[in-house]
């Protein structure tokens, strides 16, 4: 009995250590996570390749920016003022990748685009967290998400796209942003 007890004790200790480790990791990452409205809703529980299937629901803090004409219009203004246009142009890309197409390197869901803008990316995307406020980053994310919407593409003539961005429908992100909806062809 005593030996069994001892084993249970060690297991319990190990479990406690694991939990403590998790807490520590959570604390660490929280220090660098977006604050305020941008804070992630929950963490991924399973490891998947970046851009692969994620069993998470989108960040609820993105909700106010769906269906909002104000978000995409303000986002466009900030996008131009902050020289995003200098790298990505009006969605076709140049120094940075295109934004008006169907390929998302770091995920095309509104909250994923938010993260890309907030944290930056190693191949040259600057981190805008702390330089733009949370609402501004969400608005730029909404404008970027809008660029590839069929509604936006249809609203704009050839040559200079993305000048009349359509609001981002909630449905646009239902397939994790970059997947084709089931039953549609490309």
């Amino acid at each position: 009995m005593s030996s069994l007890f001892r084993i249970e004790g060690i297991a319990a200790l190990a479990l406690a250590l694991v939990v403590a480790g998790c807490d520590k990791a959570a604390d660490e990452s929280d220090r660098f996570a977006p604050s305020g409205p941008g804070a992630p809703a929950q963490r991924a529980v399973a490891l998947v390749p970046a851009g692969g299937e994620l069993d998470t629901t989108p960040n609820p803090r993105a909700e106010p920016y769906y269906g909002s004409a104000e978000a995409v219009t303000n986002g466009m203004l900030i996008y131009n003022q902050m020289n995003c246009v200098g790298c990505h142009f009006n969605g076709g890309g140049g120094i940075g990748p295109p934004l008006m197409d169907d390929q998302w390197i770091y995920g095309g869901r509104l909250d994923q685009i938010y993260n890309t803008i907030y944290f930056g990316r190693p191949n040259g995307m600057p981190a805008w967290g702390g330089k733009l406020n949370d609402e501004q980053i969400w608005q730029v994310a909404a404008y970027v998400r809008s660029m590839s919407l069929p509604e936006t593409l249809a609203r704009n003539g050839t040559g200079t796209p993305s000048q009349h961005p359509a609001p981002v429908p909630r449905a646009a992100d239902e397939n994790d942003g970059w997947h084709m909806p089931k039953g549609t062809g490309g």
Partner: protein
């Protein structure tokens, strides 16, 4: 011809309307790959000036006064090697090798190839030193040494400089590299993130590494260094990021900074002092690099140096140009914006300026002045004259006196309407007010386009024909100024540009220019912009490549096509020709489309946005249907 054009345009209009509707019906996510916007209509021939209208020279041609040759001290006897991208300090890119001729070129075949492992724009020239070939790839700037003595030229060594990945975020126009240079047992090259590295040529071991550029300020380095007078000369890129342009000289032995000359700002940092004697009055005065700018704008005013340098050993003088002023929106920087968009002559040992000439004072159209300059001795005004020849981005071939910087002649070689020639009394470009750029207003059909009548890709010169083989573009543009804020490390441009084909509708040309008679001997039209260099040979051939992957040999005397070979990707590199260890003549070139003109493929970018890649995509919408990205060395020879 006319009917076809009209049909094509109306068909294109139907497609343009149909695509968004179709896309909306069929899929929520229209694919970039299925988007095929049309190439825009060409600018009319009547909208540009003729050579007769705007070409000028101090005196009429005197061809009987002698034969044009490379400056002798700058072009020593050919030893069959290729030690620097321009072949020699005179930058003639001419080899005396004559085994391959117009008569036998049809027998050329590929003897080996080598993948660079990078599918971005390959603009470099291979080097051949002894029996080894050296190649620098596009970012991340791998260096490869190939053993030419063995079958298939196996890899001798390779070197990975591990540049910062974020460097790609401050490279305006694809992540290109224009090659290495060899001297004193060292292969010297630059990385995109701003390091200059010397490797032992025999082992590939690092000898020294000097960090010159700072990507956090928007600086990158894409040029090939020039090694002259025991110095390694390197300049920065980043004219679209509001950087402060410079040229630096490093000691070849140690890599230590010897001098650094800034291209805007006060005289002491521009290395302008007692030795400075510019020919024209507009370049004389104290601290013009400050006074010709609005307050402090010179600090973010560009004037980078990412192109070519020539060197005259007889006077220990380097000749090179400075890039565009920043931002592109000229209304934010009234003044002549010195010392941007012009050419400096400097002492190679001290960096002190000797003369300066400004091709495009207060540039309004992104006419960087970093193109190649050829040092020639040619007949002018009845006697032989030492000159610098510059096929300039603003559309003119300039011939300047090498000692004084005086303009002897300036003649258009591509479509020009942004200016009406050069006033040879004052040296000043006569700007056409109708094509000046404006805030919030599109100015249509400006020629040449922002990338110029020609961009960086270098010309060659054959002393046998006396002709300069200029690879170039036939493009114009629409331009609108926008207000722009300077945010360190982000683009500082302030313009929306859309490029289009020039008169005739073809987008590229190879012009064989007669510098003495001031006109083309012949011209080849290419559908796509010619973004490769040229090389001329003693067998009277000129080699160049097209952006859809044709590598071509041309008869240097008449422009006849004598051979062509399709390569796996478009060609924007610099061809060379060398003598192999077996004594035979070889021709080498890199394939791998990209650069500013080919970014739509190497990006890849979305052709539905004509403004992307600073407006170049607008006129390259068909390129993704004609070639794919790549990166391969190809070497050709006759059967033997």
């Amino acid at each position: 011809m006319k009917t076809t054009t009209v049909l094509a345009v109306s068909l294109a209009a139907v497609i343009a309307v149909a695509v968004p509707v179709l896309a909306a019906q069929q899929a929520l996510f229209p694919l970039r790959q299925s988007a095929k916007p049309p190439v825009p209509e060409a600018v009319a021939a009547a909208d540009v000036f003729t050579r007769e209208q705007i070409g000028h020279a101090l005196v009429p041609p005197t061809p009987e006064a002698g034969r044009t040759v490379a400056a002798p001290a700058a072009a020593p006897k050919d030893d069959g090697q290729w030690l620097m991208p321009a072949k020699n300090y005179a930058a003639t890119r001419y080899t005396t090798l004559a085994e391959i001729t117009p008569a036998n070129a049809k027998n050329l075949h590929e003897v080996f190839s080598f993948s660079l492992g990078v599918n971005k724009g390959q603009e470099a020239a291979p080097l051949v030193v002894g029996s080894t070939m050296y190649i620098v790839s596009a970012f991340p700037n791998h260096v490869y040494a190939l053993d030419l003595t063995k079958e298939g030229a196996p890899l001798k060594w390779s070197y990975n400089p591990k540049p910062l990945p974020a460097a790609a975020g401050v490279a305006c126009c694809d992540v290109v590299n224009r090659g290495a240079a060899y001297a004193d047992g060292k292969i010297v090259f630059n990385t995109l993130d701003g390091a200059t590295i010397a490797l032992a040529a025999d082992s590939g071991k690092e000898v020294w590494r000097t960090q010159l550029g700072d990507i956090n300020k928007g600086e990158s380095v894409t040029m090939a260094p020039l090694i002259a007078g025991g110095k390694v000369l390197v300049g920065n890129s980043g004219g679209e990021f509001g950087v402060h342009g410079w040229l630096a000289a490093l000691d070849l032995g140690s890599g230590k900074l010897a001098w650094k000359a800034y291209h805007t700002g006060p005289d002491d940092i521009a290395l302008i002092g007692d030795q400075f004697h510019p020919f024209y009055a507009s370049d004389r005065g104290k601290d013009l690099g400050v006074k010709t700018w609005p307050s402090d704008a010179w600090r973010t005013g560009g004037g980078t140096m990412w192109g070519w340098i020539a060197y005259d050993p007889s006077t220990q003088t380097i000749f090179y140009g400075t890039a565009n002023p920043g931002p592109w929106n000229q209304q934010q920087r009234p003044g002549d914006n010195k010392w941007t968009a012009g050419m400096f002559a400097r002492d190679v040992h001290t960096g002190q300026a000797k003369w300066f000439y400004q091709f495009s004072p207060h540039d309004e159209h992104d006419y960087d002045a970093i193109n190649e300059q050829l040092l020639l001795d040619m007949p002018f005004d009845g006697k032989m004259r030492e000159v610098v020849l510059r096929p300039e981005r603003n559309g003119y071939v300039y011939v300047l006196d090498r000692k004084t910087g005086q303009v002897l002649s300036a003649d258009p070689f591509g479509p020009v309407n942004s200016s009406r020639g050069v006033d040879l009394k004052t040296g000043r470009l006569i700007v056409n007010p109708a094509k000046e750029t404006r805030l919030g207003q599109v100015v249509h059909d400006i020629c040449p386009t922002a990338s110029g009548a020609k961009d960086w890709n270098p010309s060659s010169f054959s002393p046998r024909t006396g002709l300069v083989y200029i690879p170039h573009e036939n493009l114009c543009m629409d331009w609108m100024n926008l207000e722009v804020n300077y945010i360190s490390g982000t683009p500082y441009v302030g313009a929306e540009v859309k490029m289009k084909p020039g008169p005739g509708g073809h987008r590229g040309e190879l012009t064989a220019w007669d510098p003495v008679r001031r006109k083309p001997a012949w011209t080849i039209r290419e559908d796509l912009p010619v973004w490769s260099g040229t090389v001329a040979t003693g067998g009277d051939l000129v080699f160049y490549g097209t952006m859809d992957g044709w590598f071509k040999a041309i008869d240097a005397r008449n422009g006849n096509l004598v051979w062509k070979q399709k390569l796996p990707s478009g060609i924007i590199g610099q061809p060379i020709s060398y003598r192999g260890p077996d004594g035979h003549q070889y021709v080498a070139v890199l394939s791998g489309v990209g650069g500013w003109s080919g970014a739509v493929v190497s990006g890849p970018l979305d052709p539905r946005d004509g403004t992307s890649a600073l407006g170049f995509v607008n006129t390259m919408t068909d390129l993704p249907t004609r070639t794919t990205a790549g990166g391969t060395l190809h070497v050709f020879a006759l059967p033997h």
